[in-house]
């Protein structure tokens, strides 16, 4: 009985306040979409980190004829230097960092180069002795790149230590920025949503002050008086959250599954499945947001 009564109260509240309730739905929709977008950027960053850091390699380029590094003072890398470098890479000291070491000769480097630039005319003008030989080192933990860099960059015979990570880090930085921007927008929109929910509840409370006044006098409990207002806000915010989830899922379906994944097949993208894990988070967030702001508003505007 009480439940049916509360539900009918909510219904009449929403009907009376339809335009405000609609704006609450839209504002929470937009704010939660940005919250979700920030979340998706973070998911994507983690996904790519996991994927790339497993494959990332540190490359020790060895000296060639015209290297300018001081570690190449003696000219092209010698047999002894190469052996010393390999021994050091495989030593006990670096065992905790180094997973595997593979040597790439100048001929192999040329073969790789030809593969990579198969359609380019420069391929014909490049010869094996122009390309450096190298050690390809895969790390146990890609984050520990510095250790190898410090230990080997001034080793005699090593021209340069290079890490694909630098490039990846730049990408991650941009993605991080994007997620920060999304979060900032989400923050502003969430603030709007809170204010709007508060205003809506206040209007609702005002338009129903007769009813609540009578409820008080005949001894209705605080829950019966306030619940319709709180639920009115919560229902609107949850609808907004559902819309936001649908929008994010749709976007990820078309943009990621439909386009990015096909255009960049070698990159690990999050799937629209993973977007679904955001749904309960967004709904909960919307509900908590609305619940809190309506509680605070009611405390001031609906006497019990």
């Amino acid at each position: 009985m009480r439940l049916a009564f509360i539900l009918s109260e909510i219904g009449s509240g929403i009907r009376r306040n339809l335009s405000m309730v609609t704006s609450v739905i839209l504002v929470t929709f937009i704010s939660l979409t940005f919250v979700g977008a920030a979340g998706l950027f973070q998911l994507q960053i983690n996904q790519m980190k996991g994927y790339w850091y497993d494959r990332v390699q540190v490359t020790l380029y060895l000296c060639v004829d015209n290297s300018s590094e001081t570690s190449c003072a003696t000219g092209p890398v010698t047999e002894d230097q190469r052996a010393a470098i390999q021994a050091k890479l495989e030593s006990e000291q670096f065992a905790p960092y180094v997973d595997t070491v593979t040597y790439e000769s100048q001929d192999e480097a040329l073969a790789h180069f030809r593969d990579q630039f198969a359609n380019s005319p420069i391929v014909d003008s490049v010869t094996a002795d122009q390309l450096p030989e190298s050690f390809r080192v895969s790390l146990v933990d890609a984050e520990k790149y510095e250790v190898i860099d410090e230990a080997f960059s001034s080793e005699p015979g090593v021209d340069a230590v290079s890490d694909q990570r630098d490039f990846l880090e730049a990408i991650f930085r941009y993605m991080n920025w994007a997620s920060v921007v999304a979060l900032a927008i989400a923050g502003v929109m969430t603030f709007c949503a809170i204010l709007l929910i508060a205003t809506t509840i206040r209007l609702s409370a005002f338009s129903r002050r007769r009813e609540t006044g009578i409820m008080r006098l005949v001894g209705a409990s605080k829950a019966v008086i306030q619940l319709p207002f709180i639920l009115e806000g919560v229902i609107a915010a949850v609808i907004g959250a559902v819309l936001a989830s649908a929008a994010l899922w749709g976007a990820s379906r078309f943009v990621i599954d439909g386009w990015l994944a096909n255009t960049f097949p070698q990159t690990a993208f999050i799937s629209s499945q993973q977007v679904l894990i955001l749904v309960p988070v967004l709904i909960l967030l919307g509900a908590v947001l609305a619940g809190l702001s309506s509680l605070l508003t009611l405390r001031r505007y609906v006497k019990v």
Partner: protein, 234 residues
């Protein structure tokens, strides 16, 4: 049923207290008129009984319980034991007569069956048989006040507080309302009624408590109104 023990109520420290050391006891089943000039503290008395405001000093007891000691979550229970009617009726304009009365039962969780059984009885008690489906604007002032009374008593409170219930009504209609209140009192409900209406007070011959400037200046068992002039002369 209601006991005021040296109660003082000051709304703001600069002005005179609205009630000034009032001590008063209303027994179960009594009918009491609260009279006095405008601003003498009648409505304040009623608000204190309902715990709408708290006494600045002294204690208010309702049904033996000091209302200051009732925690806020128990205040609804206190109010379920008290019905209230006002000069301005306070009906819900978009609900029928039946729905207005039923509202008071719905909000405290009474079942539909109980509501369907109780509301017509109560509407009969206040003399509104057959008007179930009227809207408030289709009723006369006296009928609207009867609806308000029905709503106030539908949960069978032990106390009925009426703050100038006949203030907006002509004398004949007012007497009709008084008959209803008297009947409710005969059924055992304690009634406290604040009023300016001398005819009614003089006709009913009930206990009369007169307030002046927040103090009780008269408490007669079967009193009469005595106008402001008379009060000044006496």
């Amino acid at each position: 049923m209601i006991r005021f023990d040296n109660v003082t109520k000051t709304y703001d420290s600069k002005s005179q207290p609205a009630l000034d050391s009032v001590s008063l006891e209303v027994d179960r089943g009594e009918f009491v008129f609260l009279v006095g000039a405008s601003g003498s503290g009648k409505s304040t008395f009623i608000r204190l009984v309902l715990k709408e405001d708290r006494a600045t000093r002294g204690a208010v007891y309702v049904a033996g319980q000091n209302v200051a000691n009732i925690p806020s979550w128990r205040v609804p229970r206190l109010r379920r034991g008290i019905g209230v009617v006002f000069q301005d009726f306070r009906l819900l304009p978009n609900k029928t007569v039946f729905a207005n009365v039923a509202f008071a039962m719905q909000v405290i969780g009474r079942s539909r069956a109980v509501i369907r059984e109780t509301v017509p009885d109560v509407l009969a008690t206040v003399g509104l048989e057959g008007k179930n489906d009227r809207m408030p604007h289709e009723l006369s002032g006296g009928e609207q006040q009867r609806v308000a009374i029905a709503r106030a008593i539908v949960n069978r409170p032990g106390i009925l507080l009426a703050d100038e219930p006949t203030g907006n009504l002509d004398p004949t209609t007012s007497m009709g309302i008084m008959k209803v209140l008297d009947k409710i009192n005969q059924n055992g409900t304690t009634v406290v009624m604040a009023t300016h209406d001398d005819d009614i007070v003089d006709t009913m011959r009930k206990r009369v408590v007169e307030l002046r400037g927040g103090s009780v200046v008269r408490d007669d068992a079967q009193g009469i109104y005595v106008g402001d002039a008379g009060a000044m002369a006496g």
